[in-house]
Symmetry: C2
Subunit: 283 residues, 2 copies
Amino acid sequence: METERTRSAALLPCFPPAAAAIATMMLLGRGLDARDNQTRQMQDAVSNVEKHFGELCQIFAGYVRKTARLRDKADLLVNEIYAYAATETPNLKVGLKNFADEFSRLQDYRQAEVDRLEAKVVEPLKSYGTIVKLKRDDLRATLTAKNREAKQLSQLEKTRQRNPSDLHIIAECELQRATLDATRTTRHLEETIDNFEKQKIRDIKNIFSEFITIEMLFHGKALEIYTAAYQNIQNIDENEDLEISRRILRKDEEEEEEDDEDDEEEDDEDEFDATKEAFIRFR
Amino acid sequence: METERTRSAALLPCFPPAAAAIATMMLLGRGLDARDNQTRQMQDAVSNVEKHFGELCQIFAGYVRKTARLRDKADLLVNEIYAYAATETPNLKVGLKNFADEFSRLQDYRQAEVDRLEAKVVEPLKSYGTIVKLKRDDLRATLTAKNREAKQLSQLEKTRQRNPSDLHIIAECELQRATLDATRTTRHLEETIDNFEKQKIRDIKNIFSEFITIEMLFHGKALEIYTAAYQNIQNIDENEDLEISRRILRKDEEEEEEDDEDDEEEDDEDEFDATKEAFIRFR
């Protein structure tokens, strides 16, 4: 990034007239304030991102945990529906079992949602802790360089004032070197800010896009699965189950009455065997 | 429900021949066992429903609670995104704010999901506690009637054996009345079982259908809302924000350098005012 000031500093000849050197130093004096400002800005920006990304990370992690708890409850529901279905009449049993199969499949997708959110949202936000640490190191180094340069410049100024003759030229050259160092540091700081901003915006866009995509994938699957599950419930033929219940109850009575007689209707009973087996568990 | 046995009992004339009365009593003796069986079956069925509906109710209630906890976390996320967006550059700020608006809208639908599940799934399952209680009362009454009838029948049998002459005819009539009572009780028991089964299957179908419909409504809304939210994130113009950051940093330096001079570039600064105001919070 080329500002007016850095460009004019770079254009200074190695042996400038004294007036030019004084002007440069006045300019650098003001430039130091500007760079202090930049450094402070950068530190505040890093602190701000550290704070908010940290909080976002914690809340997203909480969101993922609650999603996992919801999956746990859904898993319990699946098991209970299986347990209940096993005690029911054939149609209800099959309908509930098929529903539980679908609902269980949805929990696999919820688990995938949890894993993906962990990997693509929580982890990248967590890794910002490391990024922020590196940025802090970078800032500290830049700050150290800036202080060293400021000290150098003020010493050179004193030397120039105390020795207005021979040492003058040597001092001018050292002043120019220090000016170039300061320019380099400023440019590095600007690049650091720029890269940090660029990466931050990209990462935010990426993290939120991933979040939305993962959530949409799950909701899409949920719609698909519930559509099938709805049919499983609607298809339960309640009249057939009621007829089966009635026939089994009647059959029980007839069987007890027939206990004293010969088992002449053995064949007739076979047709109830399958449904009765299910019904026995019902009792 | 007309079974062979109840139909033949109803067809008995008021003054049947003694043989027919004896046959009827033998039949009723065995019928009592069958009805004991029915009563036991009914009691088991009620206990089974009581157990499983109770457990389903508890787990569904847990599922609803966890959904509410997920909404709580999502609400926290909305607030944190607003707080972070306020510190950011204009494009990022608007993009994040719009996303938070949509995500917040989704939480309203999640709240509606929670309320609906509570009203249409958890409450109906809970109300089964009352239904089961009424069924128990019904069963107890039927059981009491059956015991009374059994006692009556055995007393009538003793009376008939001790007084084979005059009292015979009176006893026969009382026997027939007792038989009709027993038949009525049996029919009532059968109807009770039938209604209970019918209501149970209908309620299960209804409760699970409601669950699926409520969940689908939410997932459908989620897909719709996330589609809009995705655009909010994708539309964040990172280059414009970076350019704004750069111009503001540069402007800061220039401003500090211009502090000593006259404010001749006042007009030029105005164009940055809007974006700068946003950026100041960023520092």
